[in-house]
């Protein structure tokens, strides 16, 4: 602080005596994630009770976690974007594009068939995926922040364009040689006996993102821009630069998701990601992040990714008829957010 009016505080800030205790309790009760988290726990308990032989098995838990990993990466990126009051519809296509670029790079480096390629090629492939994702993220960011085109239009455009570019590169045919080493280590390997490597990677990235969003200046600026971007600008925050960084980050995470998907499926699955955007947005909103920006947590998005995943798996195990499944999923989603909403309104009806 430049001036020094820190003279004796003759009227100290008024505080309730039992502040720390109250604060913790009310913070927990009011936090966005507790109620949706509870819904997740209840669902798991329910399906475990219904099919104890199937739901609570190591196999099922591993599978749930592994298969959610790429979507989790998308949702983590989406959390940042939505907190800035933006949106990114392009993540699924960027995932595909990054996967294609990565796979083609690895193929090219191995002379056409990457199946037996080593770690050097794999590392370059990873970099290619991240760069491929970053490029689209950067483009989105520039158009949103510099050209000031609404994020919905920009990313709807790149949703089509990234997929088109991936199809142009491959002529629509999946690239199919992926290094076996990559598949058996990152794709399907486990560490510590039971923990899938994909899950470890996803967890590390998620923890890093939590750290970034909740404890650093980068995160603070993300919230500030979503809360009032004009105030952020006037406070000297480089709003344009920050928005570009956020969209690029989301692109990089989509690129990583593309690489993970490549490792897991062993192919580029070009035509299979048209719902990823809505799925990841739904996860983020389900986790309590506001579409109007300024509010949200990564933990919430994690919960938001797993509620539909658990539901889908549980319904299949419980033998719910397929056409009933979307109806039941819809009802649970709405109910989960309703509980959360009611709780928050009771606490603070501003």
């Amino acid at each position: 602080m430049s001036t020094s009016q820190k003279t004796s505080a003759d009227k100290p800030v008024q505080q309730t005596p039992d502040e720390p205790a109250v604060s913790l309790r009310s913070r927990l009760a009011g936090s966005n994630t507790v109620w949706t988290g509870l819904v997740l726990v209840v669902l798991c308990a329910l399906f475990s009770a219904l099919r104890p032989d199937a739901f609570l098995t190591l196999f099922n838990v591993q599978n749930l976690l592994v298969q959610a990993a790429p979507l989790l990466m998308l949702a983590v990126g989406m959390t940042f974007v939505i907190i800035t009051s933006g949106i990114d519809l392009s993540v699924g296509s960027v995932l595909v594009f990054a996967g294609v670029v990565s796979a083609m790079t690895m193929e090219a480096l191995s002379g056409g068939d990457a199946t037996s390629a080593g770690w050097g090629v794999i590392a370059i492939g990873l970099v290619a995926a991240l760069i491929g994702g970053a490029a689209w993220g950067l483009l989105n960011g520039l158009l949103v922040a510099v050209a000031r085109v609404p994020a919905l239009i920009v990313t709807l455009g790149s949703f089509g364009a990234a997929l088109g570019a991936a199809q142009l590169l491959t002529n629509g045919i999946d690239v199919r040689t992926v290094p076996a080493t990559l598949r058996t280590t990152l794709g399907t390997g486990t560490s510590f006996g039971v923990v899938p490597n994909l899950v470890i990677l996803a967890a590390i990235i998620t923890l890093l993102a939590m750290w970034l969003l909740h404890t650093t200046a980068f995160g603070r600026y993300t919230y500030a821009i979503g809360s009032n971007s004009e105030a952020a600008r006037r406070s000297g925050i480089k709003v344009t630069r920050h928005l570009i960084a956020v969209y690029t980050l989301t692109g990089v995470l989509a690129g990583l998701a593309g690489f993970m998907s490549l490792a897991y499926f062993g192919t580029t699955t070009i035509s299979g990601h048209s719902n990823d955007n809505l799925n990841s947005i739904a996860a983020v909103v389900l986790g309590g992040t506001s579409l109007f920006g300024g509010i949200g947590t990564i933990l919430g998005s994690v919960i938001g990714v797993f509620i539909p995943a658990v539901l889908d798996a549980g319904f299949v195990m419980a033998g719910v008829r397929p056409f009933w499944q979307p109806i039941a999923v819809g009802a649970v989603l709405v109910a989960a957010v309703y509980l959360d909403q009611r709780r928050r309104r009771a606490r603070n009806n501003r």
Binding site: Q67, I173, R176, T188, F265, T269, S271, G272, D276, G319
Partner: protein, 305 residues
Amino acid sequence: GSGQIGGTGGQTDPNNKNLALITGQRGEPFYVSIECAAQQEAAAQGYQLNVQAPEKFEQAEQSQILGGIVASKPGSVIIAPTDDKALAAPLQQAKGNGIQVVEVDTALEDRSIAVTSLSSDNYAGGQLAAQTLVQLLGGKPGSVLALNTKAGTSTTDERAKGFEEEIAKHPNLKLLPTQYTENEPATAAQIVSSTLAANPDLVGVFGTNLNTGEGAGTALSNAGKSGQVQLVGFDASPKQVDDLRNGRVQALIAQNPGKIGQEGVKRAIAAIKGQPVERETKTEMISITRDNLDQQAQYFYKSQC
């Protein structure tokens, strides 16, 4: 007064050198293979071929594309109708504008519109898949699962239906409810994992198209069940053939897109010139397993034109 849209009569100009091909979905290997063959044939005969495809296997966008094609007046349109009823009206308009309609892969219910159709019998394909699966199982009892894409997709619905009805003839096999994957491999993988967890007696899976087979293969190999649970896929894109070769998939039901594309163009040209063409041809479906892999190489789809 009242009338009908596009009711303008038109005669086919026998010298029209323009053709159009509208496939069912952009970037689908099966359709890409049709396209490659068609392009080759058209070029060989000195015709221009405008190839278009909707982004998804949906009738609305396809009929919009068809509108654009009709307006640009090619001599013939070769089309894989995404809906055997919904495309009747727009194709009728095409016909009314003097454009010869050639159906490939799928066909309209109304037989009076196209001059010829080279359609695959998807129901029979599903049956063939079931028969192949039964053969692979060799009498082993257990549950089997079909993975459909999206409800209402005519081709995969037919395949699933053929499969279900054929499996029903085998009382030692328990048919689980057909699941829908939204055409996402991740969803397919997740459904197969969950089914494995819930039904340890799962012995066979039928993936009705590329993406569902992809997801199922991944889930099975992840669970260490490749080869134990028999997986029958549909189509023979390079990746799928690889999977068959290395044991992720045990059988593929393949069509012959190269032949369809080539023959489609030939018949379109004949129709433009007013030559007679065969009205109806059912294209063959064959089952490829590891045993007959090498004999059937001509059915493998192309990845490059």
